[in-house]
């Protein structure tokens, strides 16, 4: 059972709201203060990715964010985009990043995944159990 559940229409303006809620719940749950910047960034990246996928596929369905604090702080960000689009985990090296032919969208996607992978030790990207879409699941330890 999620402690807090938030769904928002897939618009960039709402990603900030999701970040703020995600950090507020993390702080309340007892995530260490020095991890909160990383929590904020990771939730933002996961939501940005979901919004981008919904817009790419013309989906109006909301993006879902679930936060729970039973033992750990777990955040699920769920999109409803076709699965083959959602699992493109690509880490780019410096040469690829600087390559003139790499467009900004692909670069942003690669950098977003690098940030998720770099900041979240316990990270899973997998198909949702029900219907179409993927979920990004991130877990942080609780200090108390």
């Amino acid at each position: 059972m999620a402690t807090v559940r938030l769904s928002f229409s897939p618009a960039p303006v709402h990603v900030r709201t999701a970040r703020l809620v995600g950090v507020a719940v993390a702080r309340r749950a007892g995530v260490r203060e020095d991890l909160l910047d990383e929590v904020r960034l990771a939730i933002g990246e996961a939501c940005t990715r979901a919004v981008a996928l919904h817009r790419q596929y013309g989906l109006t369905a909301p993006v879902l964010v679930e936060m729970s604090d039973s033992g750990t702080y777990a955040v699920r960000v769920v999109d409803r985009a076709p699965i083959e689009a959602g699992l493109g985990l690509a880490a780019l090296d410096a040469d690829q990043l600087a390559n003139e032919s790499l467009n900004e969208d692909d670069l942003t996607t690669g950098v977003g995944f690098a940030l998720l992978a770099g900041f979240v030790e316990d990270l899973q990207v997998r198909p949702v159990d029900d219907g179409i879409g993927t979920e990004v699941r991130m877990v942080w330890p609780l200090a108390r």
């Binding site: 960034l41 990246e45 940005t48 410096a94 990043l97 670069l107 950098v111």
Partner: protein, 113 residues
């Protein structure tokens, strides 16, 4: 905090001071301003991230776009950043190897950036 953008000139450098949050919502405004500067002839651009308190992949994409655009125009592009949380973002993404990063505007403009 909302995005803030202010431009000043230091020698032959155009310094864009960015403040607040650079994310998927605000990054298009940063992109627009950088394009305006480059289109109006700026060739040595320094982006000062000193008052940025949030930067995500979308913002990083915009900065890389400006770097590439200036490089093809025989210009230069450098960043000013001395905040550890932001520097960590550059290290994790390997973008610290792509951007010239300086701790101060003086270092960025004096270093011929």
């Amino acid at each position: 905090m909302e995005l803030s953008l202010a431009t000043r000139t230091v020698g032959e450098h155009t310094v864009l001071e960015v403040g607040g949050e650079v994310d998927v919502y605000t990054a298009p405004r940063l992109r627009e301003r950088l394009l305006e500067l480059i289109d109006s002839g700026a060739r040595h651009v320094v982006v000062d991230l000193g008052r940025v308190d949030f930067l995500d992949s979308t913002g990083l994409g915009v900065l890389v776009g400006a770097l590439k655009r200036l490089r093809t125009a025989d210009g230069t592009f450098a960043l000013v950043c001395d905040k550890e949380p932001l520097l960590k973002i550059f290290r994790i993404t390997a973008l610290d190897q792509v951007f010239p990063l300086h701790p101060t505007v003086e270092a960025a403009t004096g270093a011929g950036a």
